[in-house]
Amino acid sequence: MAQQVARRIGGFLAALLLASLVIFTAVEVLPGDSAQMILGTEARPDTLAALRHEMGLDQPVTQRYADWVAGFVQGDLGTSRTYSLSVSTLVAERLVVSVPLALAALAFAVGTGLSLGIFAALRRNSLIDHALMGLTQIGIAVPNFWFAMVLVLVFAVNLRIFPAGGFPGWAQGGFAAMSSLVLPTVALALPQAAILARIVRASLIETLHEDYMRTARAKGLSHGQAIRRHALRNAMIPVLTIMGLQLAFLLAGAIIIENVFALPGLGRLIFQAIQQRDRVVVMSIVLLLVGTIMLINLALELIYLAVDPRLRKQN
């Protein structure tokens, strides 16, 4: 067991190091001299040299990589050139928007997905089940940024219930901030809810056919008790995996939705940094996101290892 855990943590660290190398190469090395790109080809050599020195580009590549990684390990994510702020400050500012948005979207998706999925599974092959599953097909097919625009059209332009975009900040009172997150939350959550509903339904139908369900009824549990105690619990195992991955997706995947609603979240920060060639910001945030996803995967693996004895015996 301890050996298995150690091996997985080792694999995680190796993958993280490799990711940092890949990201550094893709963002810092491949595109070429960023000082030249900022100043253009007509720039005077001494201006160019000064900017290159300021950006640390006169250092060898290996040195720059080592500095970046060493800083990262110590919690220094670098300094943004365009904002003149440390990347960690910028990230912290944006997380105030991104984390509530991701959590609200996940809660919304799980709430609707679970209830619809369970409802449909318990009435499988009925008319309402077919109607619901047809709806989830549409829910998955809707591009969420287009759905966001439709929401803006209906609830912001026509009904004027929610703002069409922007974020007033939490300082103005929670209500204004929350109401500006409602439409983005719904837009982000819709495809996720549809996916979850289908998975919950499929998973629950599968467990309803298991032998232990017959045993549960045979030992005297009512139909409802058997479903709550045995079927639902077992059906949740694949659902939990999906939810863990969805959270990671929602944190990183809001990039387009944040653009639709002009929300100052993590996705928009990185999108702007890409456009402004603010490379440290891009590198550090991408590594942060990739690291988070890897960490969630590691956590899921360790949980399975703890829960499922069969996995411990392997290898």
Partner: protein
């Protein structure tokens, strides 16, 4: 899994009908559209639906119907090419991983997991920003993330085939792994791969639209659904149909592909469903 609605011939017929209709429209637009989709007539700007312009005109006076028709061509070409790139590299990798136990398999599987940790859309944006916008780079940026999906799915499906008796017979007959993979394994997982192709096509369509929406992807004057959406956003209060039409086109196309995929996968199969979704929210 798929309920009776989705697996029945009805689901298949609706899916095939939608996909066929949109493909035919895109094909027709190559030879004929009501107007030149790039023709700017400022005097005709933001005209409502009329006999002259069945879906009205946009803020440059371009005919919306013509743009939607031609816009599909780009989306389809990019999505097909990206998925072909992913399948072309991913499927052979998956076959190799299933045939060879050892470091090669570990390399393919761990490599896939590694790529999965990168948020796909974000990385596609990053790649496009680095390489520059344009159709080829959009194909590359979307295609890369199809490689691990196809490698994983192919490996997962091919592995149980290798334990079958006819494979054993083939090995005893002295066939090489390569020949066995191509002659016996691939035909047996073909239907599954076709289902995965439809899933990935629909994801690629949405990804292409998203890239064009934020200004990467295909550049003007080529019309594309995603860019029509982003241009329409300014006029959403004045001319909501400009936002509705291209979005509906994407929705119907993706819906058609998903219905086709569900109908073809055809059984109460949780693993199939999960596999599809695993790929789905990595967009």
């Amino acid at each position: 899994m798929a309920s009776a609605f989705n697996t029945s011939p009805i689901g298949f017929r609706i899916g095939a009908g939608l996909v066929g209709l949109l493909l035919a429209t895109a094909l027709v637009s190559l030879f004929w559209t009501p107007y030149d989709p790039a023709m700017i007539v400022i005097a005709e700007k933001l005209k409502p639906i009329s006999f002259a312009h069945w879906l009205g005109t946009d803020h440059f006076g371009r005919d919306t119907l013509s743009m939607v028709m031609r816009g599909g061509v780009i989306s389809i070409v990019v999505a097909c090419a990206a998925v072909a790139l992913g399948a072309g590299i991913g499927v052979p990798l998956g076959l190799i991983a299933a045939a060879r136990d050892g470091w090669l398999r570990r390399l393919v599987l761990n490599g896939s997991d590694f790529l999965f940790a990168f948020p796909a859309l974000l990385t596609a944006i990053l790649l496009q920003a680095t390489l520059g916008p344009g159709m080829m780079n959009a194909i590359l940026a979307i295609g890369i993330f199809n490689i691990p999906v196809f490698a994983r799915v192919t490996h997962g499906a091919a592995l149980p085939i290798w334990t079958k008796d006819f494979i054993m017979a083939s090995r005893i007959a002295g066939r090489r792994d390569l020949v066995i993979s191509l002659r016996h394994v691939l035909p047996n997982i073909g239907s599954l791969l076709i289902v995965q192709l439809t899933v990935q096509m629909s994801l690629a369509l949405i990804a292409e639209a998203a890239l064009s929406y934020i200004g990467l992807g295909v550049q003007p004057p080529l019309p594309s659904w995603g860019r029509m959406l982003s241009e329409s956003q300014t006029f959403i209060a004045v001319a909501p149909r400009l936002a509705l039409v291209p979005g509906l086109a994407i929705l119907l196309f993706v819906l058609g592909l998903n219905l086709l995929g569900s109908a073809m996968s055809g059984r109460n199969d949780l693993t199939g469903e999960r596999r599809g979704f695993d790929a789905l929210f990595r967009r």
